[in-house]
Assembly symmetry: C2
Homo-oligomer: 511 residues x 2
């Protein structure tokens, strides 16, 4: 959809029409585009880069500029030639009250205040201006997002707040009070191939807040998984209701910030939010059936699990395939610490593995030390051996999940080391990429044969080009296989998935 009545997109009658307008504006004005940047500042640049103006009206506003980033620029919102659905404000805080009046006059439907310097400063006068501006907008039917926020990324509508996010859409809905965290999730998860339905950075949340976005996400037919970074909620009851409704229909993950005393103080300075009690919040998530996580890494890892096979793990039995005996030993310790099992393989499987694995320096019991498995300069013989090992494990019948870890640091073998200019360079990037794709395809086949998730623990690359590693992660993710940077992360994700599933027993199965 590129224009028209947003309400038509709604799948059922329980959604929030106001947010349909927010996510599907027919036109946008960027008010206060900076004079100093020939590309029109962050928002205009991002919208043009993604192509919003190809199908919609886009109006830069700045009385001192005739044109901005190649578009005609208008002296005021009132001067924009067509109807304006959505306004992005880059004007300073003191100019916001007048802008709100203009929005009312022009029948604007939603206003995003990128503008900061309001209640989060701790200044009473600035807080009052925020409150009055938002109240005035609300009274005229205008919904406000922010202040102090980056706003919207809606790939299907070509709306973005930062340069070059993925141009295509997917099923993950993100809400985040922090713009940096929203961008971090878009780019990191986007890099491996995750795609988003809508992303919203809503800052202080003076009007639209977490419960509004959860309500929307619950009904949004494009959204399959919901992730949230929340510093505080203005209305605990509304939040609890919205979270429950959303988490019953879609996997919903919440990262709550400000759980410590010092963190709560930081939250007040950041988005003027009241962090509230950490234990109350935890109980609330538990009762709602949502997953509460503690760090951005856990949020990312859980989102990856829920959009890959890892989210479907059904039991604690891990078959661990590694390269290097010590790697398998530590992996087994880490899995055990997370309460997972690493059961011995049946005799038949071990006999089958013995034909692929030499007796010296390796093991076929579980963990399996498959020596240079998926490793350096593998030829076709190595690839056949790898497929044989994977197939034997897939048919062993004892795995709830197969974890594969080459375990050896990238750059150690082959790459040009940073302390020797004359050392031999790494394999050709093209070759390494080819090998990565072949490995990913073998793991995908093993996953199909095993009928249980395969999970990959990547090697860290410490120097050189990340291209081949990213290629591997992307190929795996495209095949539905989750990839994590350490066995500790993998173990903790699996543990949390199993716990989450058991807490939701008797409820609709979501993953």
């Amino acid at each position: 959809m590129t224009a028209g009545e947003p309400a038509r997109r709604r799948a059922n009658g329980s959604g929030a029409p106001a947010l349909e307008w927010l996510f599907h504006p027919r036109s946008i004005a960027v008010v206060g585009v900076p004079s100093g940047d020939p590309r029109g500042g962050n928002f205009l640049r991002a919208l043009r880069a993604l192509g919003y103006d190809q199908n919609h009206a886009l109006y830069p506003v700045n009385p001192r500029l005739p044109r901005a980033a190649g578009l005609p620029c208008y002296p005021s919102l009132l001067a924009c030639p067509g109807p304006v659905d959505h306004v992005i404000s880059q004007v300073p805080a003191h100019a916001v009250p007048e802008l709100v009046e203009h929005c009312v006059e022009r029948g604007v439907r939603s206003l995003q205040l990128f503008t900061a310097g309001f209640s989060e400063t701790g200044d009473a006068e600035r807080a009052r201006i925020e409150q009055q501006a938002v109240a005035r907008a609300r009274s005229a039917g205008i919904r406000v997002i922010g202040p102090n926020c980056m706003g919207l990324y809606v790939p299907d509508e070509r709306i973005a707040f930062t340069g070059n996010p993925p141009p295509d859409a997917g099923g993950v809905f993100l809400l985040s009070q922090s713009g940096v965290h929203a961008a971090d999730l878009i780019f990191r998860l986007g890099a491996i191939g995750m795609r988003f339905s809508k992303v919203v950075s809503y800052g202080n949340g003076a009007d639209l807040a977490a419960h509004d976005f959860l309500d929307y996400a619950a009904d949004d037919p494009q959204t399959t998984v919901v992730g949230a970074y929340i510093e505080g909620v203005p209305d605990g009851g509304a939040f609890a209701r919205a979270l429950r409704r959303c988490a019953r229909t879609k996997p919903t993950i919440v990262l709550k910030a400000g759980t410590s005393e010092a963190g709560a103080r930081a939250v007040r300075s950041h988005t003027a939010s009241l962090a509230g009690s950490a234990s109350v919040f935890e109980a609330l998530c538990r009762q709602a059936g949502a997953q509460l996580v503690q760090s951005m890494a856990e949020l990312r890892q859980t989102l990856i699990a829920l959009t890959s096979s890892a989210g479907r793990v059904r039991g604690p039995r891990v078959v661990m395939l590694s390269s290097g005996g010590g790697v398998g030993v530590l992996a087994t310790d880490a899995l055990s610490r997370a309460g997972l099992d690493v059961p011995e393989l049946p005799g038949g499987t071990r006999r089958e593995l013995a034909s692929f694995i030499p007796v010296a320096g390796t093991s076929n019991r579980n963990p399996i030390d498959a020596e240079s498995f998926g490793g350096r300069g593998a030829g076709e013989g190595d690839a056949e051996r790898r497929r044989g090992i994977l197939s034997a494990v897939a048919r062993s019948g004892v795995a709830d999940v197969i974890v594969v870890s080459p375990g050896i640091v990238q750059g150690a073998h082959g790459s040009r080391v940073p302390w020797r200019d004359d050392a031999p360079a790494a394999a050709e990037p093209g070759e390494a990429r080819e090998e990565a794709r072949a490995f990913a395809s073998d793991l995908a086949a093993a996953q199909e044969e095993a009928g249980c998730p395969v999970l990959y623990v990547g090697r860290d690359r410490i120097w050189g080009d990340l291209g081949p590693d990213l290629e591997m992660e992307r190929a795996l993710y495209a095949a539905g296989i989750a990839s994590y940077g350490s066995i500790e992360s993998a173990a903790s994700v699996l543990r949390r998935m199993l716990d989450w599933r058991s807490r939701r027993e008797g409820w609709p199965a979501l993953f």
Copy 2:
């Protein structure tokens, strides 16, 4: 030193002369160099790449080859033309007994059995061969390292077991039953600039075991810090005594593997070691004043701390400087969870910071949101601002440690995104490296001014070239500043340093 009597190197009378011979052999024979590899297999290649044969005799042995890797090859150890101090065995297990007889005949002082397929297979007959071969060697005064191990990396003697390790030496001594873990530590830590006195991978430890290496490290004048990866100890009493002696004189960190039941089984398959009781081992490390860690990541992080200023942290008060409000909020939560304080800054410092930090969207209380601090495309104005902020914090008087986290993912801004070939590319690598060095130099100056450690939490790069990031880490490490990949890691290292120091109260100060 390149030749002569190793015993001369000994700093005092309490060392182990046998190990001086091991670490300083005047000549090496590599027996069983593979016929298929024109470069002479792993060991010959590694020794030649580092230049061992430039100052010592190096004898490849294989009856089927006239030459190996450009050196004359001998049909048997007995045929080597000069005295042989050290033998590296690449022959199969069944050929080891004969090789031991040859070693006795030739007056060899130490034998490294890369050869695997002994007791770790669980086969009684193979275990018996291992036991007999080792006993025979010992009875003739030959010390054995292995079997099932990679052996030695001694930079000053140009001895290596893997291609292209750092050619220069430093103060870190590593002992590891696993060869993969030893290599991992050498390359990962070597990449940021850490250097090693000696590294030893000793596999099954049938003769030389952890206590021998700890005894040596305790007395080795070149060694300042000791790290150990241990799967099992054959003699608990000897190990306890050696660990106590070593840990009283040098910071000593132990990663114990096989702490879980399944992990202990994996340990038996890997190095035929008995993992023993995890709680007994923990008590033993505690009593000895050593630091026990649980993962390779923790081992690496602790080694970095102890060879940088982070190891000198004296109290729990953290001043947190980040770019992006949400980053600071989560960092504060993570630091608080680790039991560290994030105290409010004094009014004077806050007023000073206010001149550098705009009121909108940032905070100067602690955490400090210094917006695009150390960030993207910083010009000279930005650098001046950065130095002003750092200096104000350095003089605040409330920091036991200053943690700096740009917080924003690399690749998000500037780099060519993996989903758009036509997107603008990253800044020139040269430019990014220059900026990294300038940032590192500012942090080093701040550390000097503050008189307390500065610690850096890096951005993850998710695509593109790791060069500039590695340059940054190297510049920081060279200036004595530790760098970690996440705030959680940084917080946990600081917590463990403080706990370790308090447990050692009343003992000699080591860090």
